[in-house]
Symmetry: C2
Subunit: 70 residues, 2 copies
């Protein structure tokens, strides 16, 4: 792969653009999440605690053994 342009260049651009598109999507989702937190805060929930609850649920989920329910 020694071409400065041509096939390898196009292939490289393809990879880069696919990654950038997905990074954009990821960013969009992160913004959606932020908005949900903002909405929850607006109705009186404590965002810090909300994050904690989600973190704890995440920790207890993978084993499938926890009976913790929130």
């Amino acid at each position: 792969m020694v071409q400065a342009g041509g096939i390898a260049g196009e292939q490289l651009r393809g990879y880069i653009e696919r990654i950038e598109r997905l990074e954009e999507e990821k960013k969009g989702i992160a913004e959606d999440i932020k908005e949900i937190y903002a909405g929850a805060k607006a109705v009186g929930f404590d965002v810090k605690i909300l994050r904690k609850v989600i973190a704890v649920r995440k920790m207890t989920k993978p084993t499938g053994k926890s009976k913790m329910r929130f």
Copy 2:
């Protein structure tokens, strides 16, 4: 909002589940990105450089003034 169960509880669960769903989506996209990097590596591209290129493009994009092309 003082109910331990009932309406506030359900509302809270709603927020949490929406966030968790989006977090899952975000994770899925992050895995897709990882796979693209792996694919690029498999055909001979240098992942470290690829990440660098994407970072530079990201830095030069927002202004809309850069003429840099990769």
